[in-house]
Structure formats: structure tokens, C-alpha cells
Subunit: 401 residues, 2 copies
């Protein structure tokens, strides 16, 4: 049996037990329905160990038995599937003009998906914490009503989040040095509930990687199509955050030295030439979506100035995408947020421009596509992040309901 050669320390018993519980849970997630014998055969754990682990997971209401097999050789075996009915994983997002909340069960099935306008750009951090806490409480109430306990909460923020979870700076929200996780924990009065904070683009790409149609693609880049443009980067199957967690900051790379001024103080940033703010003028968060819908309406009607503007934004977006295709060579670049309804016009221009600028032929095999996860992508990614923690062994003890 091969020991983990990356870290050859004597294993702590608790760690081994937790790791093995997670191994069994992941196996059932990917192979349900399956028997204890299936688990033993695949994981290499002996049958007595598997029985003990399965009993533990059933006790925690993470697995359940679903009856006997009929079509196999030998003695009928009791099959196992994920339970998870007493649990929910919660993700939220705060952005310039909205708040979203998503809850999923253990297998990733969506339980709820809410969105409300919110003036993130003008609210103070304290007001934002208050609103996020209120939304979280409503989600938890709904889950409690459905006899589910929250496994954890993760919040997507458009900014630089350090490895400790502090929002170092979120320029589009006007935040600097905000301990969102700590403030939220205080506001929720729930010291046992794990709370994580992560960059919105990072969580969106996690959502795509776990739940999207390109799920499992080893090298994936997601671009947020919001007022801010950020990138979430998955390489060799894992999120790459960089040394301080500040990776993926594609929005303020200079695309056009002669371009418009950017809110960041520089000129011609990707955000300034190809962020959604180029296409909508309203600063009222409740009006952004209707403006986008108007742009779509005009484009469909063949309005020349609209089509020209979309083509130009698409080309500039393609210049940004080419930075990612050249440097990272991903199998796919996924455009999210407000880029999605505009994709029919943005994608062809972006793909053509990126194709011209990518050294490898055919974009190095990269497909540029629109996200199918909707506006809740980053919040869904938050829920995925909570499930990742469960997968890593942070399992709930017995449920309280």
C-alpha cells in the first residue's frame, strides 16, 4: 500500500479517521448506489473498517441505505447513497448592484437561489454586513423550516481577499481592510457556523468546475462580467490563488494605453474598455439589468451603433482573453455575469480577436463560452467551497434536527 509520499509523517489517528470518512463519502458521491464491498474493493480499506466508517456516516445522516441489489452475483448487498437531507451548504455574493444567495444539498442539488438589488457601491461595509447577515438569516430560516442544518457559509466578494479571509481591498465596493467573516459571525450570533470569504471570480470558477457543463475541465478560466472584471483560474484541476491569494486580477491589466480612464486611476484597463460599465450608464443598481435588456433588444433589432459598440467591446474583451490563453493555455474560458445575455454579439468578436493574438493555433484548443450558471454563479461557488470543506474531512457531527 502506497503511503502518501508527499508528506511522510506518522499519521494522527483523528486525521486518518476523518480522511477515511471523507474518502468513503467521496466514493459514494461518485458511485452511488454502491455497496460496502464496492467501497472496500475500490479504496483498499478493509471491510471491517469500511463498515465502521459507513456506520459513522449513516449516524451523521450523510449516507443512507436504500435496499438490496438484485442483479449481482453472490449475496444481495445493501446499497448506499448520499443522504444529506438534514444539511444545506450556503453561498452568498455581494457585488456592486446586487446580493445573491444559493443553498445546495450534499449532492449539489439547488435548494434555493435568491437575488436582490443592493447598492453595494455606495453602502458602507457595516450596512453591507447587515444586509448579508439578514439574507443569510433568511436562508437559514428556510433551511430550518425544511429541517436542514447549515454546514457552512461562504461569501463571494469582488476584491482582493488574503489567505486569512480578510477583504484587503474591494475597490468597486469601496472597502478596505474589512474582516467580513468575523463581522458576519458576530452578526449571526452563531459561533459554530463555519464562514469563509473568497474572491467572486474564484468562487464562480469553482462553481463551473464542480457544477457546470464543463465541470471537471482541468484548465479553466472564468471572467466575471460585472462592473468589475476578474478572473478565476483553475489549472490542473485546482484553483490557483497565488502566493497571497491575489491571483486572477485581470481587470486592471492595460489593454489600450490611449483608452478611457478607469475607476482605479489608470488608463485603458480591461475593465475600462470591456467591463459592463462601458455598455450601461446607470449607477442605480436596480437599473443595470433593464439597461442590459435594452442593449439586447436593440442589438436584435439591428441597431447599428449598438452593434458597433458590442463589436468593439467584444474585441477588447478578446484582447484580455488572449492574455489568459497565451499565459495559461486553458481548455476553456467562461464568460459570466452580464456577458451572458450579450454573448451572441460579444463571443464572435472576442473569439476572433483572441484567435489573432494567441500564439498557439486555434487558441491553443481553448473554447470561449458563456456561463450557464446564471447570476448566482459566484454564490453557487460559495456553496461549492463549503462542500469542498466537507470533502476534505470537515464533516458535521450528528445533526441537531
Amino acid at each position: 500500500m502506497i503511503t502518501s509520499s508527499a508528506d511522510p509523517r506518522p499519521a494522527d489517528f483523528t486525521d486518518v479517521r476523518a480522511a477515511n470518512l471523507a474518502v468513503v463519502l467521496r466514493f459514494v458521491r461518485d458511485n452511488a448506489p454502491c455497496s460496502r464491498a464496492d467501497i472496500a474493493a475500490s479504496t483498499g480499506l478493509n471491510k471491517a473498517t469500511v463498515s465502521s466508517l459507513v456506520a459513522d456516516l449513516i449516524d451523521r445522516r450523510l449516507l443512507r441505505e436504500v435496499g438490496l441489489t438484485e442483479h449481482r452475483v453472490g449475496r444481495p448487498a445493501t446499497m448506499l447513497v448520499l443522504d444529506g437531507s438534514p444539511y444545506a451548504s450556503i453561498g452568498l455574493e455581494i457585488n456592486v448592484d446586487y446580493l445573491t444567495a444559493v443553498a445546495v444539498d450534499l449532492s449539489g442539488e439547488r435548494l434555493l437561489s435568491w437575488r436582490r438589488s443592493f447598492p453595494g457601491a455606495t453602502a458602507t461595509p457595516a450596512q453591507a454586513v447587515s444586509a448579508i447577515a439578514a439574507l443569510t438569516r433568511r436562508v437559514i430560516s428556510r433551511m430550518t423550516r425544511d429541517r436542514r442544518q447549515a454546514l457552512g457559509v461562504a461569501v463571494a466578494v469582488p476584491g482582493l481577499i488574503d489567505t486569512g479571509g480578510t477583504v484587503v481591498v474591494a475597490p468597486n465596493l469601496g472597502w478596505r481592510g474589512v474582516d467580513l467573516a468575523g463581522d458576519l459571525a458576530k452578526a449571526l450570533h452563531d459561533p459554530g457556523l463555519p464562514i469563509q470569504v473568497e474572491n467572486d471570480a474564484n468562487l464562480a470558477v469553482l462553481a463551473e468546475h464542480r457544477f457546470g457543463p464543463l465541470g471537471g475541465t482541468p484548465n479553466l478560466v472564468y471572467l466575471t462580467g460585472e462592473v468589475g472584471v476578474g478572473a478565476g483560474v483553475i489549472l490542473d484541476g485546482r484553483l490557483r490563488r497565488g502566493g497571497q491569494g491575489f491571483g486572477g486580477e485581470i481587470g486592471h491589466i492595460e489593454i489600450d494605453p490611449e483608452g478611457p480612464a478607469c475607476r482605479c486611476g489608470r488608463t485603458g484597463c480591461l475593465e475600462a474598455v470591456a467591463g459592463i460599465g462601458v455598455l450601461v450608464s446607470s449607477t442605480d443598481p436596480a437599473k443595470v439589468e433593464p439597461e442590459i435588456e435594452e442593449v439586447v433588444r436593440r442589438a436584435k433589432a439591428g441597431d447599428r451603433p449598438t452593434l458597433d459598440r458590442l463589436a468593439r467591446v467584444g474585441r477588447d474583451l478578446g484582447k484580455g482573453i488572449a492574455i489568459a490563453t497565451n499565459l495559461l493555455n486553458p481548455e476553456a474560458v467562461i464568460l459570466g455575469g452580464y456577458y451572458v445575455p450579450l454573448a451572441p454579439w460579444l463571443l464572435p468578436a472576442a473569439a476572433a480577436e483572441a484567435g489573432d493574438r494567441t500564439i498557439a493555433a486555434d487558441l491553443g484548443g481553448c473554447r470561449i463560452v458563456a456561463s450557464t450558471l446564471g447570476y448566482g454563479a459566484a454564490a453557487l461557488g460559495g456553496a461549492a467551497r463549503v462542500l469542498d470543506s466537507v470533502d476534505s474531512g470537515r464533516l458535521p457531527s450528528r445533526p441537531t434536527s
Copy 2:
């Protein structure tokens, strides 16, 4: 004992044996001198297994015993160290104006380091293969004279190398679709010798990560300072090549839309504004180094036009570096090749420009430094790549000498 949960198949005996041999070899590499008991305690393998593995490795002349301990509790134990004296790992590089070859022993000690002018830009692929083969034969002869057997050869090429090892395109050499590994194997008449081909920037960053003063840094970017500018990217401790192996192509990202034409056909590429070709005019490979030395001499003498030109190149280089610091957030960016002698003038300008353009404060914690590995960095990386194969379990059987 935790099984490898990433791939829960029943383990093949040969794979387990090879993997365990590699585990022991790596442990001794990192902890020599050490005893069999040390190996058992750290790896979790039982003592009988360790004894068997150690005997195997001694038999293959990869480990050797060096006498008894004196200062420990209990029975004196025989200590083990890497042997490797009958082996050599060989790396080569072909580039626009030179060929280099490096040989190292199992612990990474340099055995030889050669460099010769070579007109890579004008030679045909066949002439280049011939020259590389001739150089390889000379290195192997020298190793044979020193009673060492070549474990393998890896060649650095400035171009797009697919995951199968074919040189898809190397624009600065004028190559397209060259099966360098296959051609070299034929030229060397040595079917048993493993030959790998890899992008030069990728191998250089491997050399820095394994042998350089910043060795082990988890997130590292190396920029080749040659006629071509390419990036090798290490994130979370491993080389990131992208979906088709074409990552790190930073040289043709547009830095200045109004900039000079690039050999690639585009305008204002990083290579065209900040590649070494901006500072030297000679197309004769033997003259590049003397020209660089002249630039250094003039800069030291305070020649104003030279200093201005270096400052401008430094700033443009900084614009390219900012793409890497923003997108990847590495702990360090290492400038190699001809950037090294020019570092005293390039680095300050590059760091200032990159600092202005990086969203995170203080470049996100990134240090921009000059390589200390010399012109042989990519070839050294080739030798590192061969050692990586050994570390992964591709061990030689009994040596022939």
C-alpha cells in the same frame, strides 16, 4: 494508513514497488545521512520492506552505506547517502545563437557545463539535430570516461512543445512540426536512452525551483531574456503547462499597440519592445554577447542614450511582468538570459513600472530578481527534468559500468 484517495484502484505490484523505491530515494536525498530506521519511521514503511528497498537501491548504485553512527541512543546504525556516482543526468538547450549542455549527478551537483555559439535561427532542423546529437555524444563520452551512465537527456527548445514532445512551432528557430526527440534518438543510435523535449522557459523555471536560491518557492515565474521572451510558470510548487502544453507564451502579448513590428507579424509584442533584440543589432550569434558587454560598459560609463534605452526597455519589461503579477500573484519573478548582466539597469525600472500596474500593494509580495543560474539555466532544467523522472520512479536497473 491512508490510501491514495485520488485514484482508488487496486495497486499494481510493480507500481507500488517502484513508487516505494522512489519514496526511499527522495527521503535519503533530503535527509542524508540517515539510517534504515529513520526511513521506516518517517515513511511509515515497515523495517523489512525498507531493508529490501534499500538493498535494491544499493544494488542499483543509487544509495551507498557510509559507516556507523556514533552519537545516537541504542545500537549503532549504518548510515545511507545518495550514491549516484555511476550516473549522470543530461540537459541541453538549443536557441537562436547558442547550444548549451549541462550534466549533473543524482544530487544535482554540476559535472559539466558547456556552451557554444550556434546559428539556431538560420540552421535547418536537420543541421540542428546533427549539432545537438554531436554535443550530446561529447557529453556522454565525457561521462563514460568518468565511469558514469546517462540516465536520460532533456532538450530545451524556445517554442511550443506539445504534450507528446513534438516541437509544434519554434518561430525564432524557424521550426515547424519537428519531432526532435525522435530525430535525436535516431541520431544517437541509443534506443534505451530516455529523451525529452520541453519549452526552454519551462525548463529554466524548473532549474530555479530545484537548484536556484529561491528553490522551493511555491509560485515562481521565470522570463527568458533571449531574442525570444517566454515564461515558465510554477504555481503551488509544480510547473503549469496548460491544456496542450502551450502555457507561458508571454512574449507576444501586446504591450504597445503603437510599438515596433514583431517578427511574429504583430505589433508591439513584449518581445518586440523588451526582448534583447531591442538592445543588440547583430544577427551574428557569436556577436550577441560582445554587444551586450558593450551595452554594460556604456551604461557603467553613464552614456545617456544607453541609460535611456535601458530605462525604456525596463519599463516595458515591467508592463509584461505586471501581467504575471496580476494574473498569477507569484512570490517571485526571475529574469534570466541576457537580462542578467543588464539587471542593474533593467530591474529598478521594471519593478517600478510593475509596481504601478499591480493591483495588490507591493506587487502582491512579489520579488523581481535576476537569475543566478547563468546561461545554462534551461539546460540545467533539462537535467532537473531527468532527475524528476527518477524521483517519479523511473529508476535505472543495474548500471552497465
